[in-house]
Symmetry: C2
Subunit: 247 residues, 2 copies
């Protein structure tokens, strides 16, 4: 049944989350009901641990994810455990790319020659979950990441599974702050001084539910949309962002 489903249904199927963890809650906890549904046809989820936050090991990171997914009775295997990562991705029932450092994640995806393989798996309908850095890479480029360039990637180009860029963990300017460093909004405006790609600031607790051509904003919060040479706009939950690919 599962293979039959995969063969006839090539619709894109992604959950793209701003963060793995919301304040005061466990790892992935707020998303588990959504994920139970998202991965309903999967027994095992392939985990891509490359972004490994704080430099933790791939094994440590995979253990953390195994613990979370055990709550919805899913097995998790780390991509680093396979000799042939291409084959592992091609055969995966479902895929999760965790957060951490986006520069590191993108570097490792290129070094292991799996950026395109991953893109194809997503295009072919393999259910995908991204959080933070793992969400960043679903955009056209990683150029609106918040992360530090701790390693030099061969390219900033990413999966392009959605027709715009993301800024996960989007943070509104603190109007009381005496800090003179750039706000998130200023940084995204700088991006638009040189790039025309739309950018969605996705606040913690928000995610995108991509099913085929529909790209629906989920969660309780609005998201902040930045278009080149336009004032930013707040989008309500349930907005379909598909139109951003047509402007």
């Amino acid at each position: 049944m599962k293979n039959y489903f995969k063969q006839i249904n090539h619709m894109k199927n992604l959950i793209i989350a701003s963060t793995s963890t919301i304040h005061g809650s466990g790892y992935l906890e707020y998303l588990l009901p959504t994920l139970e549904n998202h991965f309903e046809n999967c027994n095992t989820i392939l985990f891509i641990p490359y972004a490994r936050p704080g430099g933790m090991t791939h094994d440590e990171y995979t253990s953390r994810v195994q613990e979370a997914f055990a709550k919805i009775n899913k097995k998790v295997i780390g991509l680093h455990e396979f000799e042939n990562p291409t084959e592992a991705i091609e055969k995966a029932e479902g895929i999760f790319t965790g957060g951490g450092n986006t520069f590191l994640l993108v570097t490792q995806l290129y070094q292991n020659n799996v950026m395109e393989v991953l893109s194809n798996a997503i295009e072919n309908g393999t259910p995908y979950l991204g959080s933070s850095a793992g969400s960043n890479i679903t955009g056209i480029s990683m150029q609106t990441t918040n992360d530090m360039p701790i390693i030099y990637p061969p390219s900033f180009k990413t999966l392009g599974a959605i027709p715009f860029n993301l800024n996960p963990h989007y943070l509104d300017a603190d109007l009381q702050s005496k800090h003179m460093g750039e706000t998130r909004e200023t940084r995204i405006k700088e991006f638009h001084a040189f790039n025309s790609t739309p950018v969605l600031g996705l606040r913690e607790g928000s995610w995108l539910d991509v099913k085929g051509d529909a790209i629906i904003l989920k969660g309780a919060l609005t998201a902040r949309l930045f278009l080149q040479n336009q004032n930013p706009e707040e989008l309500n939950p349930e907005t379909d962002l598909n139109y951003l690919g047509k402007i």
Copy 2:
């Protein structure tokens, strides 16, 4: 007299500031007394506007800097006004690289083939001022910048005028925050999972005064030093950071 000074004195001579502007004060205002002394032998300062914050034009940015330096009777010419940027840097009496986006700054320095020229000018004793992005590039690499990767530079390697990396606008973690994005300290620790270069978190209002081999922390605040596999350490003003090149 000025040329004579330049010929016999090849001591490095830099002011490396965390920020151009502190809260509630004008552009470069808090630094002007220091700069009057720093640039005492210069009539004209060459300004490198490549990082242009918020995508402002090179001309706009240069005007802002001209206004600030007029208060200490210095002329300012933008590097973009010269046909031959290499010659402009080699002949400069003094150089200021302003803040903005470090990825953009580094990209343009490489594209215009002046990274090495600028490094040589600094080694030869041309007085240099950097603020924010312009300070970032005095380190070994730009890999501890806070900026967004809005453009892909040919390399992350920078001037190496000091034997460590900087994190300008260093910001302490807000312990009250419910935001789950990484703190500055977490990001620097991630850098140290892959790199051994020391990192100095330079708070707004602090600067480094480099004279020959001495690298003295100035301003009223402590700075936070991060060494690989060690706990961060607070350094007092007047500390000489020269020893970081020997560890």
